[in-house]
Each structure stands twice: as C-alpha cells, then as structure tokens.
C-alpha cells in the first residue's frame, strides 16, 4: 500500500480512536469520583476502592475467575498448540475436514449456543456443575484462539530448520522440543494471555455452566450492573482494565522479541485470527 496519509485519513483514525477510548476514560475517571452521583463531581477520591476491599462477595468472585482463567488458559494452550501443529504440520488424515471445522467454528459461534450446548452436555453426563465445568467450557472456547495464533507463527517460520534437524537424524519429538518449540514460544505465550483474558471476560458461557459456589467475576458484575451503575463497579472495572492492559502490553513485547513485525501486528489481539487468514 502506498504511504502518504491525507488529512482525511488522519482525521478518520483520530476520531475512530477517540470513539474507542472515550467510554473507557469516562469509566476510569468516574471510579475516582468522590460523589455517588454520576453527574456530580465530588472531587478525586479512592473511596470506592476502599469499599471494594471490604466487599467479600466481589473478592471471592475475582478469586474464582482467576483460578478458572489460569487453569483453563493453560489447558487451552496445550490443546490449542497441538491442534495448530496438527493443522499445519501433520498433513492430511481421515477426518481432517471435520477437525478444522471444529477448530474454527467456536471463533464465531454465538456464545448462547455454545453455553447452552455445553450445559446440556454436563447435565447429560450428570456432572456436578461448578469450577471444573466452567473451566472445561472455557478451555474449549479459548483453545481455538490459541490454535489460530500458534498456527500463524508455524506457517510463518522457515520449515527447512526442522527438515535439517530431521535429515541429520534428530527424532521428530526431539526436533519439536529443540527447534520448533523455541521458535513458536512467543506465539504460545501470547496465546496463553489471550485465553486468560477471554476466560476472565466471559459472562454468557460461564452463566450456563456455573454451579453453586462458583460465581465468576463477570457473573457477579453482571448481576450488579443490571441494578444500575454503582461506583464500586467502576472501581473493579478500572482494576480489571489496568491488569488486562498490562498483560496485553507484556504479551505484545514478548511477541515482538521473538517475532517479525508482521507477526507482532497479527498477534496484537484477540482478533489475531486475521493474521492466519492472510
């Protein structure tokens, strides 16, 4: 694409970014508002953060979400990386079409359908719903995103490195550990981060698959939000925004260290599936 941005180009990008950031800036600002009313500015205050520290229900939910996030992201990273290797490196096999269909479908499947179908599975299997059912559901959803990220990295790097190792008599598994794994490590790290943030984010699937004693943070926030705006919710949301933004920046730095510019662009986000599409 020819460079050279016109005033129109610059304007559309600026307005677009303003549209994207304004609501978040408003939310973060209100979380420091001393007044309970949104329209009244009561001066800068940390009151809602202090209040949050004593809200055991929210803290409990945050703890559940963190545990679900870490376990499901780790499982999803392993499964998703394996799926990416299958799709890129293992060639054709019986049932491949079904496999790639199952890998890409969850990316666009409406959440209500995925959530309902997983719940009905757990009911049919007669499993007690709770921590492990949410974790399994999130693993299924997020592994597909990991696959897409790792797969774009696998397509991107020079396969002759693997071929050289194998020609010199290195067994496939060792080749994977010593050549492939270090090369795709940044993508795997970015995939884990993405899976974790998706899990932390999910409301619909968690609502379907949850059970007694396993209320995640989004479920908790949702039930509060339905009752209207509360300054404490602004505060917990601000904390989540900061945590996630730091994670996103960290993972893009990791990705940059190992990957070319093109890939780090592709890795930018949860929308990273586009990288694989090109």
């Amino acid at each position: 694409m020819k460079r050279g941005a016109s005033a129109f180009n610059a304007l559309s990008v600026s307005i677009g970014l303003a549209f994207l950031y304004l609501p978040i800036v408003v939310l973060v600002t209100y979380s420091f508002n001393g007044s309970r009313l949104v329209t009244v500015w009561g001066g800068w205050s940390l009151a809602w953060y202090r209040e949050l520290l004593h809200d055991h229900v929210i803290l409990q939910a945050a703890w559940v979400s963190l545990r679900v996030g870490v376990v499901s992201a780790s499982a999803a990273t392993i499964l998703g990386t394996l799926a990416a290797i299958v799709l890129v490196r293992l060639g054709d096999f019986r049932g491949r079409l079904l496999f790639s269909g199952m890998v890409y479908a969850p990316l666009v499947m409406p959440e209500v359908i995925t959530g309902l179908s997983l719940l009905l599975l757990f009911v049919a299997l007669d499993v007690d719903r709770g921590f492990w059912t949410i974790t399994a559901a999130h693993t299924t959803l997020t592994m597909c995103f990991v696959t897409v990220i790792v797969q774009s990295r696998l397509i991107g790097f020079d396969q002759s490195l693997e071929e050289a190792a194998m020609d010199l008599g290195c067994p496939p598994f060792k080749t994977f550990l010593t050549i492939t794994l270090p090369l795709i490590a940044p993508a795997i790290a970015a995939g884990w981060m993405l899976a974790f943030s998706l899990s932390l984010d999910d409301l619909v699937i968690a609502s379907f698959t949850t059970g007694p004693g396993a209320t995640t943070l989004p479920i908790r926030i949702y039930s509060e939000v339905r009752l209207g705006v509360k300054p404490e919710i602004n505060a917990i949301c601000t904390i989540m925004i900061v945590v996630v933004a730091l994670g996103a920046i960290a993972s893009s730095l990791i990705a940059k260290r190992g990957a070319s510019q093109r890939e780090s662009e592709a890795l930018g986000a949860r929308s990273s599936e586009f990288g694989a599409m090109q």
Partner: protein
C-alpha cells in the same frame, strides 16, 4: 514435504487425537445433545425434559426413545410470532450494525494502512487494546454515558441542544451504539490486513496513467480489499445476530433479540426443549455464513498442503 509426515508414529497420532477428542466431546457431542433435547418435551422433573435416553434399556429403550421424540418445540416456535419477530429483529440488528461498522471501519483501516509504516503497529495496537478489556465492562461503560443522568445528557443539556434529558438507554439506538463500539476492531483488523498488503506499484501505475485518486480507489484499492470486507463482515454479523449481553443491558424490553429469547426460555421459563429448538433454529440461520467464514479461514492452510 512435511517433516513430521513421512512416518506417522503413535506419537503423531497422539498429537492428532488429543485435541480431536477434546473437540468431539466438548464441541460436537453437545450439539447432538441440543438437537436431541430440542426434540424432547418439557417435563416437571430433573432434568426438566423427557424422554431421557437410558442406555441400560438396550434396543427396546432406544426404540421407545425414538418413538417419544416430538417436534412440539419447533411447532411452538413457528406458531408463536414472538419468536419470528425475535429472529427478524436479530437479523435486522446484525445487518444494519454490520453496514454501519463497515462505513466507520473502512476509513479507519484505510487511514492506518496509509500512515507511515513505523506508526502502523502502534495504531493497530491502539485499536486492539480496548478489546482486551472485558466485553461486559465496555458495555457497562456506555451505561455511564447513556443513562438518564449520564454524561451525554449532561453535555447536551449544558449546550442547550436539548431541553430535557433524552432516554438513550433501553432503546434500539443504544443497542446499535453498543454493538458498533464492541465489534469495531473485528471490522478494522481484517480490512487493515488486506489494505496493507495491496501492492503500491498498482496505485502508482494508475496515477501515472492519469487516473484520479478517487477513481484509483474505486477501481483498484476497493476491489482488492474485498476479501477483508468479507472477513470483517462475517466476523461481525455472525456473533451480533446471537448477541445477548448488549441488547440485555442497553436495549429496551419491548422487543427481544433471539439470544435473549433463548436465555429467557432457559433461565426464566426453564423450558429446555424450546431453548434448544431456538438454538438449533439460530444455528440453521447462521450455518451458511459460518461455513463461508470457515472456507475463508481454511484457505491459506489448505493451500499450503498441496
């Protein structure tokens, strides 16, 4: 030649089967169950539907099971206009939002693609960063702005554009604002990815031959960006049609989108067969766009296998 391909050992099969089996159990099997339950009838039992498939009854049980399947839920769906309106409303919201997203997203993607190369990763990151934060939080942020005594009404009143607060929340306008806001990166990123790859020499050639800039855009740039348009449109349209959180928090109560109907049937009415039938009908509605999206995704990899 694929290095791992020539001798597919038990190790390679283990690599294939682990994710394969996981997806069959947690993605494919659940759909079969949804289909089955959509053909059951609601019952006051636990689980709240019948017949329940009992594997211990053997062949006789299987025959009885199939004999008891019913299309009652689907008949209910097609008889009650509420569901039809829900579907139509979902399609309408999906189509209009996707069109608006395209109109807003294209200039942004185009602007990023034309900016200096060193800025581009930063700009892409800037588009993407808000979307690492929770979906729920982003929708909630709009409640702060759109509510009765919220920021937007405050500004409009102070500027004397309106005399009394406007009811932004609980309206279709609010749904559209929320949907467009939430899905914007899903439109911008695939558009940017294709625009960024367009060969600059094509544009120079057109300019050298005296083609005006707008015409070059229309005859060269836009047609070459169509794959990105298709990807962006599908990536937005499909999930928006099934959206639940945005219409529930920002929309009004007078008409529901189909995702809300499913949620209500399941959680409030506890009518699992009808909820399953809604899910199946929604899936049927989205099947063609989903298959189309899958083809777009599989293209580059399948190409490499040849």
């Amino acid at each position: 030649m694929h290095p791992f391909r020539q001798n597919r050992s038990w190790g390679a099969w283990a690599v294939i089967l682990t994710p394969y089996l996981w997806l069959v159990v947690f993605f494919l099997a659940p759909f079969v169950i949804v289909l089955k339950i959509s053909l059951s009838q609601a019952a006051l039992s636990q689980p709240p539907y019948s017949p329940i498939f009992d594997i211990t009854a053997g062949w006789a049980g299987l025959a009885a099971f199939f004999g008891n399947l019913s299309f009652e839920s689907y008949r209910l769906l097609s008889a009650d206009l509420i569901y039809l309106f829900s579907y139509l409303k979902s399609l309408e919201v999906g189509a209009i939002s996707t069109a608006v997203l395209f109109a807003i997203g294209y200039p942004i993607a185009y602007g990023i693609a034309r900016s200096p190369r060193s800025w581009q990763p930063l700009l892409v990151m800037a588009v993407v960063l808000p979307f690492w934060t929770s979906f729920l939080i982003r929708v909630y942020a709009w409640i702060n702005i759109l509510q009765h005594d919220g920021l937007l009404n405050d500004i409009l009143l102070r500027l004397h554009i309106v005399d009394s607060p406007v009811a932004w929340l609980s309206s279709d306008t609010a749904i559209y604002i929320g949907v467009v806001y939430s899905y914007l990166p899903f439109m911008v990123l695939p558009l940017y990815a294709t625009l960024e790859k367009i060969d600059g020499t094509l544009l120079e050639a057109a300019a050298d031959l005296g083609c005006p800039r707008w015409k070059t855009f229309w005859l060269v740039t836009f047609p070459l960006s169509l794959p990105g348009v298709a990807a962006g449109a599908l990536l937005c349209f499909i999930p928006i049609v099934g959206e639940y959180v945005i219409p529930d928090l920002l929309g009004g109560s007078e008409s529901q989108m189909i995702g809300q109907s499913l949620w209500t049937e399941f959680f409030s009415s506890r009518d699992w067969p009808v909820a399953s039938a809604i899910a199946m009908a929604l899936l049927a509605l989205l099947l063609i766009p989903i298959l189309f999206y899958e083809r777009l995704q599989q293209g580059p990899i399948e190409g490499r296998l040849q």
